[in-house]
């Protein structure tokens, strides 16, 4: 089978599986967050109920292109997921996710709302903050395996984290930005108390907002996949270990989310680049040496 067909099939499978898993993960996230705050929390399927409701809302849009941009953002996330989970080029997956983020930013700008524009600017800053570290991760993977393919990483004898522990620490730092968790949820927060109306999604409503939610579910699953990649080896038992450790990482993110207030964009950009240069840079230098 050629790689185009594999990508196509993997994208379709990802488009079906990831929203289901992402929805459950989000539901679990909200329950755990609520318990951390001393609340009972919503039912597990609450994110699903939210999206179903949004799809039933009246169709209102400030312009005709906003929905197109959001649909593109969703589609590119799905293709990125398909490429990653079919074991193909990691670098291409990163670029597709960035492209998806760009469409999301353009959608925010296109609404012309001052709140959405501030949100879009902050989303741009978020992309600027995390992108160097994500590329460093791709570089260290290449240094270890000699290939950007995900399939070569998972067929190693030792988990790749044994060579890339520093890069993993840097990756954990920017994962908070990618998962849109406090203190780095600058563009659009789950928590209404620290948000300018609703950030980048201010003008999005109904089915458009539902697509944004589904995109976030898929993104979360993809980023958890990236995290798991650090632990997976050729042996099947490593998959179980990777699953446990990835769940632990997500729990850590929820803990951070609930314990920190949002930072200013300056602190986010500086700290993210500092960590990327330090952790990523030293790791690359060590591997090169």
């Amino acid at each position: 089978m050629n790689s185009f067909l594999i990508t196509l099939i993997a994208t379709i499978v990802f488009a079906i599986v990831a929203p289901v898993l992402g929805c459950l993960l989000d539901g679990l996230d909200r329950i755990i967050s609520a318990r951390m705050q001393g609340r009972v929390g919503p039912p597990l399927l609450q994110p699903y109920y939210d999206v179903r409701k949004l799809l039933q809302k009246e169709k209102v849009s400030v312009n005709s292109v906003e929905q197109v941009y959001i649909a593109c953002a969703l589609v590119f996330t799905l293709i990125g997921g398909g490429i990653f989970f079919s074991g193909q080029n990691f670098l291409l997956c990163i670029f597709l996710v960035t492209l998806s983020a760009l469409f999301f930013i353009v959608a925010g700008y296109s609404t012309r709302s001052p709140y959405a524009e501030v949100g879009a600017e902050r989303e741009t800053l978020q992309v600027m903050s995390y992108e160097p570290m994500v590329l460093f991760v791709a570089i260290v993977f290449y240094q270890v395996t000699g290939s950007f393919d995900v399939s070569t990483v998972v067929s190693l004898d030792h988990p790749i984290i044994t060579y890339t522990i520093l890069a993993f620490i840097g990756f954990l730092f920017i994962l908070t930005i990618k998962l849109r968790k406090s203190p780095f949820d600058l563009s659009s927060s789950h928590h209404a108390h620290q948000e300018l109306v609703k950030g980048i999604t201010t003008e999005m409503s109904g089915s458009t907002l539902a697509q944004v939610e589904i995109m976030h579910w898929c993104e979360n699953i993809l980023f958890m996949g990236w995290t798991a990649l650090f632990f997976i080896t050729a042996s099947p038992i490593s998959w179980v270990i990777a699953l446990v450790l990835t769940a632990l990482v997500y729990f850590l993110e929820i803990l951070i989310d609930n314990n920190f207030a949002r930072v200013k964009w300056q602190s986010m950009l500086k700290s993210a680049w500092f960590v990327a240069l330090l952790a990523g840079g030293i790791n690359i230098a060590l591997l090169a040496w």
């Binding site: 009972v40 039912p43 609450q46 409701k53 009246e58 209102v60």
Partner: protein
């Protein structure tokens, strides 16, 4: 089947309330009463909200704001008047600047009485409201089908 009732997102606006009801509205969302059990989220954005919680009586200064928020909300939507002032104007009903209850500005679906409104009454009102939300969602759906 309608899903509106399972995730009622709310927006809260203080239309010249004394802040008594506002504190109770927020109390209903806090750990003690935890309205998120019912899927309630405080959105702060009219375009995302399903239920409009208005506290306080409406006056000449803010009637346009109340109407604007209501108009920006997307169908199906429900308005809940929270507290005596929002229901009828309350003790301020004969003030020179007060128009009266919220229903003088926009159509109100549920009236939650009390001075200040109790969080229990508020949660009851929201549950009453989601029933109306469901009915409205059904009507909207059948109207869309007729159009198509």
């Amino acid at each position: 089947m309608s899903f509106a009732s399972k995730s009622p997102w709310v927006i809260h606006y203080d239309a010249s309330s004394c802040n008594g009801c506002d504190i109770e509205v927020l109390a209903a969302l806090c750990p003690g009463y935890d309205a998120e059990r019912l899927g309630v989220i405080n959105t702060g954005n009219p375009k995302h909200a399903d239920i409009f919680l208005v506290t306080g009586s409406v006056n000449e200064q803010n009637i346009s704001v109340v109407k604007e928020i209501y108009n920006q909300m997307i169908e199906p939507k429900v308005v809940i008047a929270c507290g005596c002032c929002a229901c009828t104007g309350g003790v301020f009903h004969d003030c020179y600047n007060v128009l009266g209850g919220v229903d003088k500005a926009i159509p109100v679906d549920v009236y939650a009485p009390g001075c200040a409104v109790r969080p229990e009454a508020l949660i009851d009102a929201i549950i009453e409201g989601v029933g109306i939300l469901d009915e409205k969602a059904k009507k909207l759906k059948s109207a869309e089908k007729e159009q198509a």
